[in-house]
């Protein structure tokens, strides 16, 4: 006789998902699954649309990282319009926009969504374990989080015209530069932003080190890591070659042209989730899964180009003597190192006169295939469009960041389930542990359900034949 338990919806993540568990008569967990329960069908319904609409349309995959989708699609339309190299002004404006995006998304995830688990503990009272609790108990920290996010949103507004779903990037370039006033308004606060970002890294480091054995073991899985890197091996968010690093530091491949991604990556479909399971083709579906996002990027790169973030990276990499850190909760640490890197990079870019004037767009000869790859806040993001002679989309393929982490998130909840839940009565705090593991990946479930966008967390318990035994909604427990 088996029980089914569910966590539904998963909260403090973007979008909706649920977790189901099966527990046998000895209370052992025999199955744990993360389901994405929504389907939107972007790959179909953008067919027939003109290619120049795509950067504005597909950014509506996600309101948290719209800029990443906007830019991945814009890079694909660059290729469609035969543009290989943007003007320096256009490339720098896009990079600035994207640093603003990653900064705001990372701030949102850490302060608004995940910090309650880390500061209050996973077993804190349900009604208190949220951003309102943080505002009440840690007002200064909450203010810094809110203002860090605000700063990133302002960078986005000034580079794209709107905080959410702006239109800054167009095929072959951008449609605006910064005015001196706009630049100065951002420069005015940047020292404070860098300082607060540094404080945030320090805060998490202390939490991690104080509870080191918990943080190291919790939901820990050992995986390959995939990210873009710059040609010189530096951390890179906007453009670069694909690198996969294995747990022993071996580079499985390096500086691979992302345009060849279909030779490297396939996606496996499972009937129980709308989110597909990408894997490295040469390793096959069983062994070819990997992780992406801040943990993968910081583990993969040889260095970070900005000085404060590089110091933090070195300290971080010492955790596992230079080998990739595999702790799932270390995602938070690396997310904050990137937050700092973004703040420092924004400061560098704001001193560049190319942002104030220069060529906005360049033109080339139309092509039929356009592929744009970028490092979104949550990991490597692929947009691929085919168009016909009239410039209308005939085929599209989107592999979003959260999708790459699908298998890893499932493995992580299985680990938590066997580590903490197996053999026990299921309680709300235990269920929250499953969510803490999912939250570490900062899943963007709207993005992941482009195939439609949403995922609540519910834990259900089934018997060995799959019959429903129990369904637990976290909040009602």
């Amino acid at each position: 006789m088996t029980r089914r338990i569910s966590v539904d919806p998963i909260s403090r993540v973007e979008g909706h998902g649920k977790i189901t568990l099966q527990q046998n008569e000895n209370k052992e967990i025999t199955q744990a699954r993360l389901h994405i329960v929504e389907f939107r069908g972007f790959e179909k319904f953008i067919q027939g649309r003109p290619y120049w609409e795509v950067p504005v349309l597909v950014q509506r995959l996600c309101g948290i990282c719209p800029v990443s989708h906007h830019l991945a699609a814009a890079k694909a339309t660059d290729m469609l319009t035969g543009v290989k190299q943007l003007s320096p002004t256009a490339e720098k404006m896009r990079r600035l926009m994207h640093f603003g995006q990653v900064l705001q998304s990372h701030a949102l995830h850490f302060f608004h969504l995940s910090s309650p688990d880390l500061l209050f503990g996973f077993d804190d009272e349900v009604r208190h374990r949220n951003i309102v609790g943080i505002i009440k108990d840690f007002p200064e920290l909450a203010k810094q989080g809110v203002l860090l996010r605000k700063y990133g949103q302002e960078v986005i507004r000034l580079t794209s015209g709107k905080r959410i779903h702006g239109t800054g990037a167009i095929p072959g370039g951008i449609n605006k530069t910064l005015s001196t006033d706009e630049r100065d308004s951002l420069l005015k606060d940047i020292d404070q932003i860098i300082e607060w970002a540094s404080t945030a890294v320090g805060l998490f480091k202390n939490i991690y080190i104080e509870h080191q054995s918990y943080h190291q073991q919790f939901a820990k899985i050992t995986t390959n890591m995939m990210s873009l890197v710059k040609p010189d091996g530096a951390l890179e968010l906007y453009d670069g070659g694909l690198r996969v690093k294995q747990a022993d530091n071996n580079l499985f491949f390096d500086h691979q042209d992302p345009l060849q991604y279909l030779d490297l990556i396939n996606e496996h479909v499972e009937p129980w989730s709308y989110m597909k399971f990408p894997f490295l083709k040469s390793l096959g579906v069983e062994n070819g899964w990997y992780r992406v996002g801040p943990l993968a990027r910081v583990n993969n790169c040889d260095f970070i180009s900005t000085s404060l973030a590089e110091l933090e990276r070195k300290e971080f990499m010492a955790l596992n003597n230079g080998l990739p850190v595999q702790s799932t909760l270390a995602y938070h640490w690396t997310r904050l190192i990137e937050l700092l890197h973004c703040a420092e990079s924004i400061n560098e870019l704001l001193h560049d006169p190319d942002l104030l004037a220069g060529e906005l767009t360049v033109k080339g000869e139309m092509q039929k295939t356009g592929i744009g790859v970028i490092e979104a806040p949550r990991g490597t993001l692929f947009h691929h469009y085919e168009i016909n002679d009239e410039g209308l989309v005939t085929k599209a393929n989107l592999i979003v960041s959260t999708t790459h982490n699908n298998q890893a998130m499932n493995e992580s909840i299985r680990h938590v389930a066997s580590q903490y839940l197996s053999g026990n009565e299921i309680t709300e705090p235990l269920l929250n542990q499953l969510e803490v593991a999912v939250r570490a990946y900062d899943p963007c479930l709207s993005c992941a359900t482009h195939a439609l966008g949403k995922m609540p967390l519910e834990v259900t318990l089934l018997d060995e034949e799959g019959h429903l035994i129990d369904r637990k909604h976290k909040a009602t427990h």
């Binding site: 979008g15 189901t20 389901h35 389907f39 069908g41 319904f45 948290i64 949102l108 709207s446 949403k454």
Partner: protein, 179 residues
């Protein structure tokens, strides 16, 4: 605590951009939480909506679960507010209405590039998809709508303050935008 105005929020088939626009009131959120208490919302761990003064709906209705949650919000919220293009008219998700649901599913899970183990996800754990994506007013009665993709934070703030002060929210023609 109990005399605070209780607000619940949910995102149905949408992108979360409207919730982000709520957070774009920035530091005013620190003032807001003095006046309101959040019930079910993606920002809290409360999974089921209880009786609330205001319910905020982002997103369109695309599956059976969306219908259920929307009806539950209508039942529990004195004032129900639909925010953003998807809730108002289906928005981008309703673009799939130009195709059959089957065509959309086949494209994602069978005819797409670089796929293996081709199958249409159909597990009982997955909610039934609706053949057509619907605006929320086609499912329940809505008291207010705020248009925009997303509605700007200033509009959301002005709307909240009016409701909290017991005034009827009013917007000039210039403040109402659909982009």
């Amino acid at each position: 605590m109990t005399d605070k105005v209780k607000i619940a929020t949910v995102s149905l088939a949408g992108c979360f951009g409207c919730h982000m626009s709520i957070l774009d009131i920035d530091e005013k959120i620190i003032d807001l939480v003095e006046l309101v208490e959040f019930d079910r919302s993606p920002l809290t761990d409360i999974k089921r909506v209880s009786y609330c003064d205001i319910g905020i709906i982002e997103g369109a209705v695309a599956n059976g679960e969306n219908v259920e949650i929307l009806r539950d919000f209508r039942k529990h919220c004195k004032t129900l507010v639909a925010i953003g293009a998807c809730a108002l008219n289906g928005g981008i998700p309703a673009m799939r209405n130009h195709f059959s649901l089957k065509e959309c599913l086949l494209e994602s899970y069978a005819d797409g590039m670089g796929l293996e183990n081709l199958c249409i996800p159909n597990d009982p754990e997955l909610p039934m998809l609706l053949n057509k994506v619907l605006p929320v007013q086609q499912v329940v009665e809505i008291d207010y709508v705020l248009p925009g993709c997303p509605p700007p934070a200033d509009m959301i703030w002005k709307f909240f303050t009016a409701l909290l002060e017991g005034r009827e929210p009013e917007f000039s023609a210039q403040e109402i935008r659909y982009d």
